[in-house]
């Protein structure tokens, strides 16, 4: 597994909504080898505070050597990142972790909630590429609390060529309700591979649904991280019996049924 600590250059900063930002970075080495579901560790400050890198899913990567991250401002690190400017240098380290497993022979349902949408664009594109654009039975469901969390990304997903539905908790965009409401209302082929990323309760509900329906389900989860590469053992997550997995090495993508949920 190649990994690189790259000095990347910011080539684009998009303020997609008041709190959500998308940054494009020239990162040729990482872009050349990353897979959907993998993440990078980004240094938000050149000083000693904040000290640790921050993990972000790879939102997109392209053949021209660019990667994108899509994030929400929730604290100091993301606040600093949101204020970078084009041509500034950022230290990025990756790609890290195990990404999504793709079987191009299976129908696919991709479900993202809130910032959980971040890693799914890369996934959708890769699936579409592998299926040679034959994505007829595939479905994407994007949900969020309000329009802000969903609307700015919907077009990018539609352009991939997979049918995309949207929901918001408050009905300000798409259907009013949860992604799980939509999930329950659509017909999925019995061998559908579900991919989900979003808040824990959402992923837990999707897991329940998939278990009941006998569908495969992969999820991408989060945890605090110091190193992102297996050195600190700080990113553990219980899997029962007093056993742990480590999100940065064993994940962030897991088979949903193997996890315990933090509710």
């Amino acid at each position: 597994m190649p990994q690189y600590q790259e000095k990347t250059i910011v080539t684009r900063v998009e303020q997609l909504s008041c709190e959500n930002v998308r940054i494009t970075l020239k990162a040729p080495e990482i872009a050349s080898c990353c897979k959907p579901g993998q993440f990078v560790m980004i240094r938000t400050s050149v000083g000693k505070d904040p000290l640790l890198r921050r993990p972000f899913s790879i939102h997109q990567a392209d053949a021209s050597g660019h990667i994108q991250i899509y994030f929400k401002i929730v604290g100091r690190g993301t606040e600093i990142l949101a204020h970078v400017r084009v041509n500034e240098e950022i230290s990025v380290f990756g790609p890290l972790g195990r990404g999504f497993t793709i079987d191009e022979n299976l129908p696919t349902c991709i479900i993202g909630g809130g910032l959980g949408i971040a890693p799914l664009l890369f996934l959708a594109k890769e699936i579409c590429r592998r299926k040679k654009k034959n994505c007829g039975p595939d479905l994407i469901i994007l949900g969020g609390r309000t329009l802000d969390e969903v609307e700015p990304l919907v077009n990018d997903f539609r352009e991939v060529g997979i049918r995309t539905l949207a929901t918001t908790d408050d009905g300000s965009y798409g259907e009013k309700g949860f992604v799980t409401d939509v999930l329950k209302s659509v017909e999925l082929a019995p061998n559908t591979q579900v991919y989900a990323c979003g808040p824990e309760p959402m992923m837990a509900a999707i897991n329940d649904f998939c278990l009941a329906e006998g569908l495969r389900c992969q999820v991408s989860v989060e945890s605090v991280m110091a190193c992102g590469m297996g050195a600190c053992l700080g990113c553990n997550r219980p899997v029962g019996d007093g056993k742990y997995v480590h999100v940065c090495m064993d994940g962030p993508v897991f088979e949903a049924k193997e996890l315990k949920w933090n509710l």
Binding site: K48, L233, G234, N236, Y244
Partner: protein, 318 residues
């Protein structure tokens, strides 16, 4: 002559820890470098003075529940809970790779009783590639009501002696900074037979989340590391250098060659890079490179000239 002039062109960075010869004074701190393999794509492991691996116990330990880490001002708290695969699996699964590295491997060990320390050491004795043992005494002595070995001179000395008796490689005792008199602790383990002391381990700390009204760590308290603790570490190295004759390994907030050289001025013969490995996976190699540059630029005969070279006469120009 202890250090024979070698026929190599680069600056002389060699140092000695007891009978252990190191190509340079830079090691990786236990628990911050995994079992080294994690870093193989990211740096040149062969450039290191030594690798110190994650602390090993007699039996595997699952460690603490999450959250195990939290960032603090210029530092971090960890309560990993000494998760490790245990000495048997370590020898079987991790040592072969480590033995293949062209770098001395020092095994950090921990236990809940003196017997446990002795057992692990015996198990490691003779294992190919094990160049030294670092004894983590910041663990609670379960037989003595949970008081940390590292907080009591007698217990610390007893552990040291038990380990020393059970192996032939150099024994480094890693001191806890959570004590009233670090010099006293260092003398105790020196008297107990330690070949070297390394310091500091983490300061005990805590962080609280106001929103949840809960500790940030599942374990409530954790160990503070990173640049925040460097001043405490430097002071303790300086004090210990005045208390013992055995070589000292400086640890605490080292990120750059400058940091490392400051520890050497204070009296350290070698250093360990810890938390910095998380921020910059190449940190330890960059420290080696920076020290090498410094020795060349300052035209030192060897890096050993820096050890304890702190000047204490008042500087007129200040």
């Amino acid at each position: 002559m202890e250090f024979v002039k070698e026929n190599h062109s680069g600056p002389d960075l060699r140092v000695k820890i007891g009978s252990l010869h190191l190509a340079n004074p830079v090691m990786t701190a236990s628990g911050t470098f995994g079992y080294a393999r994690e870093f193989e794509n990211l740096m040149n492991l062969h450039r290191l003075g030594a690798v110190i691996v994650k602390g090993i116990s007699l039996f595997p330990r699952p460690g603490n529940p999450p959250p195990r880490i939290v960032e603090t001002a210029c530092g971090m708290l960890n309560a990993i809970g000494l998760q490790n695969v245990g000495v048997e699996r370590f020898i079987k699964e991790k040592m072969p790779y480590l033995d293949g590295l062209n770098v001395p491997v020092i095994v950090n060990i921990l236990g809940g009783s003196i017997e446990e320390y002795r057992e692990i050491t015996k198990r490691l004795e003779g294992v190919p590639g094990v160049a030294g043992i670092e004894v983590n005494i910041s663990c609670p002595n379960v037989k003595e009501g949970g008081v940390a070995f590292g907080g009591d001179p007698q217990m610390a000395a007893a552990v040291t002696t038990a380990v020393k008796e059970s192996c032939s490689v150099p024994v480094i005792v890693k001191l806890s900074p959570n004590v009233t008199d670090i010099g006293l602790m260092a003398r105790a383990v020196e008297d107990g037979g330690a070949d070297s002391v390394s310091l500091i381990n983490t300061l005990i700390g805590m962080a609280i989340n106001l929103k949840t009204k809960r500790p940030e760590l599942a374990n409530i308290i954790g160990g503070l590391s990173g640049p925040a603790i460097k001043p405490v570490a430097l002071r303790m190295v300086y004090e210990v250098a005045r208390s013992v004759k055995i070589p000292i390994i400086g640890i605490g907030g080292i990120e750059t060659a400058e940091d490392a050289l400051e520890f050497m001025l204070a009296g350290a013969t070698a250093v360990q890079v810890g938390t910095a490995n998380f921020v910059n996976p190449r940190a330890s190699e960059e420290v080696v490179e920076g020290i090498s540059r410094y020795v060349q630029e300052e035209k030192l005969h060897s890096v050993r000239e820096m050890i304890g070279a702190l000047k204490l006469d008042p500087l007129r120009n200040h």
